[in-house]
Symmetry: C2
Subunit: 261 residues, 2 copies
DNA sequence: CGGTCCCTTGACAGCGTTCAATATACGTGG
DNA sequence: CCACGTATATTGAACGCTGTCAAGGGACCG
């Protein structure tokens, strides 16, 4: 069992984060140059943990391109596979009866998609690519079978699911206790941290999602997102350039999240 | 694999719930008269799914009394075991640096506690009994080991975790899109449904938690909870009697949740 | 019986939503 | 390459809901 993801997980959780209040995320698996099964760059859940003999048998793993705006899966689809984001990024959103949607999360490379569907056997949210992306398809039946003789793989799956739960607890805290500026600061710090985890520059960060999608994720309207962003800009904490955003003062952003982080 | 929990899970999720908008919950396992291992009434995760031979070896399961207001575990505790509520009820809450708390959930009999700690190896929230309760202690190392040769047990665990994730997505929707009355109506409908799942009368329901705890869970202040409750009372939808609450019009409550459920 | 905790209600202020207008970026087709 | 239309982002003004502050009543416990 690699230990880095655990350490990252601990850091990302409330009260222990170096950037207090930053929204927790499922830590990215340490990147490798190539997936042993799919032959695509970077590692994924199954590829990374299956020992060589099992890998040869585990054929339920393949990669798939997803163009910007296209679905990885739709609410209502029967559940059969998990996905990991290999490159690009996605959003997951619960559809509402009136046509609106609640964005439940944004996924960067290495993040898992579809964990919410194992229990019911049906996907409950839409997963949509925010940019041209590539996902790894992991047949869940095969994964479960492969995990039976492999404690390491089983533990990895359990941890990924548990971290997702912890991440959502942190988001509940954001939605339940913070005002607009705090929510936005928390979101930006978390995103920056996740970029850094992946070896990308933590600033400037490229926002692949619309303001409206950020708002849906944070429980705010577009106008409120824009206004909060403008206030953070006026205070010298960030420099927004549409989809590009410079973080100018991480400490001040953390302080802005304050006692609620 | 029993099928009832699956059906229940599907019902509890957005867009498919018989009480639209009711907050989703992890369905209670179908009750049995006695746990085969602990000898306590009702079944639990491990007890119910371990075949007889494995059961004899699995000693990491025992029950524990928890008095009202006492902790099942505390934030910061090392993770070693999951818990199921056998009787009574609990709350889980994320502590905030300033001493306040965010209630992440209420657990009734049959519900699992501690799933959020598997990933980090450390509990991130407090679990506190709302009334004199009894919990079943399930050593996680033993459970994982026991699950290795048992696909059924493994799947059960995966489903429980996945349903927890789906439940929290639904709560994010509540926190992100609903106003005070809708949140409260959704909460009460969900609670009523969970009581019914356990064979208890769906109304009147006994609220073991304080208004303040309901508020923390729903992202509202005590006064707002009280006011929203009074409005629902004035409209003839509920009849509150302090900790006792009659649901007078389920259909109207569902309608109140409206298009957002 | 007194004290504390919990719940409810009122008045007011503040923040976020709503409605509206404007500006800018992007995509499409000429 | 330019022109146009659409989508996205920002900003302003007024309204409404929820938070805040304050007071009072009632249940439970020692």
């Amino acid at each position: 069992m690699r230990v880095e993801p655990l350490a990252e997980a601990a850091r990302m959780l409330p009260n222990q984060d170096p950037a207090p209040g930053a929204m927790a995320s499922v830590p990215a698996p340490r990147m490798r140059t190539q997936c042993a099964i799919c032959g695509v760059r970077e590692a994924c859940l199954a590829c990374d943990l299956l020992p060589a003999p099992a890998r040869a048998e585990f054929t339920g793993c393949g990669s798939r391109r997803v163009a910007r705006g296209k679905h990885v899966y739709r609410a209502g689809d029967a559940f059969s596979a998990l996905f990991t984001v290999r490159s690009g990024s996605c959003k997951t959103c619960l559809p509402l009866p009136d046509g609106r949607e609640q964005v439940t999360g944004f996924q960067l490379s290495g993040d898992l998609l579809g964990l919410e569907a194992i229990g019911a056997g049906v996907h409950r949210c839409n997963a949509i690519a925010l940019e041209d992306s590539r996902v790894c398809v992991i047949e869940f039946a095969g994964l479960e079978a492969a995990a039976l003789p492999l404690p390491e793989l089983q533990r990895h799956l359990h941890k990924a699911m548990s971290l997702e739960i912890a991440r959502e607890h942190a988001l509940m805290l954001v939605l339940g206790t913070m005002d607009a500026e705090e929510r936005l600061a928390s979101f930006l710090l978390g995103l920056s941290q996740r970029y850094a985890d992946r070896g990308l520059p933590a600033t400037p960060l490229h926002l692949h999602m619309k303001r409206e999608e950020i708002g849906s994720h944070l429980g705010m309207k577009v106008e409120t997102v824009s206004r909060a962003l403008s206030r953070l800009r006026d205070e010298g904490l960030v420099r927004p350039e549409l989809r590009r955003l410079h973080l100018l003062d991480l400490a001040a952003l953390s302080a802005r999240v304050g006692a609620r982080g």
